[in-house]
């Protein structure tokens, strides 16, 4: 996955709470067996007025001009600022793939749902948690200051833009995974001996866990 160091980009405000993963990427696009091809359908039911499916391309669609991401001034945005409990609902990692492929590198909100948070980490999408009031201020700036951009500095854990500066907390292990863009499976397989040892002991203590039908 892509390592995260610092990133500067245009900010798009999505002033809604409880944005669920069904909104981020609707179910009809989950039929894909690939990891790519989801960006065009990010927030599909909000970005377009007609119902999308996997065979339609974006230029065949009826665009919802009222949706914030369709406004000309937010084209090319790579930082999304939104409200509480972002990413709730379904575990679909396709939501993270869609956000990244659309061009977002960082999402800022007062809180995120747990599974979405884990999925983001696995794919190098930085989630920044800031207090309600600070997020409110950012949304306000993104709405009122033309071209409002932010620089997100992961090593320093800071965010800065025109007339705005804040620092954020991130768990050290999450920070390291993002900063180094590590292959999680390779990290875990370094502990293969410990897993084997655990498994042997577990099999002795709880043999029923390993039982198979008919024997």
């Amino acid at each position: 996955m892509q390592a995260f160091d610092t990133h500067t980009g245009l900010v798009a405000p999505l002033d809604r709470a409880n944005v669920d993963t069904d909104q981020i990427i609707p179910k009809q696009f989950l039929k894909s067996i690939r990891r790519t091809g989801f960006g065009d359908n990010l927030f599909d039911a909000w970005r377009f007025r007609d119902e999308g499916d996997m065979t339609k391309t974006a230029n065949e669609r009826e665009i919802n001009r009222e949706f914030v991401l369709n406004e000309p001034r937010y084209q090319g945005a790579s930082v999304l600022v939104t409200r509480t409990n972002f990413g709730c609902g379904s575990s679909r990692e396709h939501a993270v793939w869609a956000l990244l492929e659309y061009g977002f590198r960082c999402v800022i909100a007062p809180s995120f749902a747990d599974i979405f948070s884990g999925n983001s980490l696995q794919n190098g999408l930085l989630l920044v948690t800031l207090p309600d009031d600070t997020v409110g201020e950012l949304i306000d700036r993104a709405q009122t200051v033309p071209g409002f951009s932010l620089t997100v500095d992961l090593p320093e854990q800071t965010i800065a833009g025109e007339g705005f500066a804040a620092s954020f907390d991130i768990e050290p292990e999450r920070k390291r995974l993002l900063a180094e863009g590590l292959d999680e499976i390779a990290q875990t397989l370094r502990y293969a001996d410990a897993i084997h040892a655990f498994e042997d002991k577990h099999r002795q203590q709880m043999p029923w866990v390993f039982a198979q039908p008919g024997g």
Partner: protein, 497 residues
């Protein structure tokens, strides 16, 4: 081996747990979640993440193909094949199943089901294919097969994996990268969540079910009420629930923000497991039972968060909005945005009113329906179908209802229902009797709402478009869905019993 008294068994069980317990033992009591976590913590990685050993991994067609592809690209093999169990569920049509895979009209969906078959065959993973009578919604199949056992760590690339917590298992939904991680390492790299206890005191009254209880809980604590926490459902009302009802309860933990929700072991847990194909029997069962009996929170265990409600005060519940926390009792009216103090909540209410096309002050009983869906991993087990059939028996689906679907949770549930004649009850009442799958819970197959249609649904999410583009979903229990079907609008099911 003679049956030991419960207290002795608990002591024995605790001794197994303490072997793997980290840190000082015997200081403070442990929660059920603490015990299962301690018994599966393999190591702490250098980056601070705990490696949690996974006992059971369930797979379906939608969230696994990219994981298998990742394994293949990296030249990795599954760590322990027999931990895995797969079945297709999300994409399957609920009609014409005899035609097999060729009967899936949607080519893209068909490709995904074929990919699951191919991946399971190539890697050697046990799969109940779409023509197997044991096929079904993965969260119905696991418990039905006894593949879900107390004390297990269980994962699946599906957020409703929390269902399995009914068995005092630590069951969590994961994304596709974690599916690949679990396949490759048999571990999940995780930070431990907090402990939350939700206590339901009193007893549910007749006609009020586990579905109503969980909707009321989510209404009370909100959709982020348990974020960062593992829920333990406790209290007299929870104890009195059947195992299937506990599955309904735990299933919607995720709608309260809790990745996992669980209920402690009791007699009902053990009884449910007897004779199921994957469950232990004979001496192994006795050995397991001795451990399982200890899968309860210690009396002095501490919880980081608690919530309590009196189950005896609850009436049947109906969701009115586009978030599972926007719920009403059957005698209540749709709220006004002014009822919410917080600006964000007020806006949520306004958006929900507009999307659902409802006006403040409208009694929920006056809301008329277009479609009825009885199914999903929340409510498609045999007890759910019995409850719906009890209401449907001798009645007719209202002529204003375009379609009323009954979709059993598995092929075996369907078979059992047919043995009891429930299919006849439903058909005679004007319901459609379908084959097992996720169906209109998320409308990945052809079962769906069309723009503007309104549905009484026994599923778990009323998000915008969840059951079909611009469709409107009201979450209810199976009996309430059946009552709505015959009445054409919402009704208090207690008047039908």
């Amino acid at each position: 081996m003679p049956a030991a008294p419960v207290s002795e068994k608990a002591a024995q069980a605790a001794s197994i747990g303490s072997l793997t317990m980290r840190g000082a033992s015997g200081v403070a009591g442990r929660t059920l979640y603490d015990k299962i976590w301690d018994a599966h913590a393999v190591a702490e990685r250098a980056d601070g993440m705990t490696l949690l050993y996974i006992d059971r991994h369930l797979l379906h067609e939608v969230t696994s193909p990219q994981a298998f592809e990742g394994l293949e690209l990296a030249g990795r093999q599954p760590w322990r094949l027999d931990a895995n169990l797969a079945t297709p569920d999300h994409n399957l049509p609920t009609t014409n199943r005899a035609a097999g895979i060729g009967g899936i009209e949607d080519e893209i969906a068909r490709t995904q089901v074929i990919a699951l078959d191919d991946n399971c065959r190539r890697f050697g993973i046990r799969e109940f294919k779409m023509t197997d009578p044991r096929q079904g919604i993965v969260h119905v199949v696991g418990p039905e097969q006894g593949a879900t056992l107390p004390g297990m760590t269980i994962v699946c690339g599906d957020s409703h994996t929390s269902t399995h917590g009914a068995f005092a298992a630590l069951a969590q939904g994961i994304g596709t990268s974690d599916v690949e991680h679990v396949l490759a390492t048999q571990c999940l790299a995780q930070r431990k969540a907090g402990n939350m206890r939700v206590t339901a005191t009193g007893q549910l009254r007749r006609g009020v079910t586990a579905k109503d209880l969980i909707l009321a809980i989510i209404r009370q604590i909100g959709t982020a009420g348990a974020t960062g926490h593992t829920i333990e459902f406790a209290g007299s009302a929870v104890r009195a629930l059947s195992m299937e009802a506990r599955m309904t309860l735990c299933n919607m933990s995720i709608e309260a923000g809790g990745r996992a929700g669980m209920v402690a072991v009791d007699d009902a847990t053990i009884e449910y497991l007897r004779g199921r194909p994957f469950a232990p029997s004979g001496e192994l069962l006795e050995q397991a039972e001795a451990y399982w009996r200890g899968l309860v929170s210690d009396p002095d265990a501490e919880f980081d968060r608690t919530a309590e409600l009196d189950a005896s005060l609850l009436s049947p519940q109906v969701s009115w909005g586009t978030s599972p926390e926007l719920v009403l009792g059957i005698d209540e009216a749709v709220p006004s945005p002014d009822a919410f103090q917080e600006p964000a909540r007020r806006e949520l209410c306004e958006r929900a009113l507009a999307y659902m096309d409802l006006a403040p002050g409208m009694p929920i009983r006056d809301v008329t329906l277009d479609r009825i869906f009885i199914g999903s991993c929340t409510n498609a087990r045999i007890e759910d179908l019995r409850a719906a059939a009890e209401v449907a028996k001798g009645r007719r689906v209202a002529s204003s209802i375009r379609e009323a679907l009954v979709v059993p949770g598995s092929g075996l549930v369907k078979r059992q229902a047919e043995a009891e004649g429930l299919d006849v009850v439903f058909r005679e009442a004007g319901f459609e009797w379908r084959d097992a799958g996720c169906s209109m819970c998320l409308a990945m197959n052809n079962d769906r709402l069309y723009p503007g249609e309104r549905c009484a649904s026994t599923s778990n999410r009323n998000f915008e478009g969840r059951q079909g583009h611009l469709g409107r979903t009201h979450l209810v229990s199976p009996a309430m869905a059946a009552a709505a079907a015959v009445n054409g609008r919402f009704a208090d099911v207690r008047e039908y019993l």
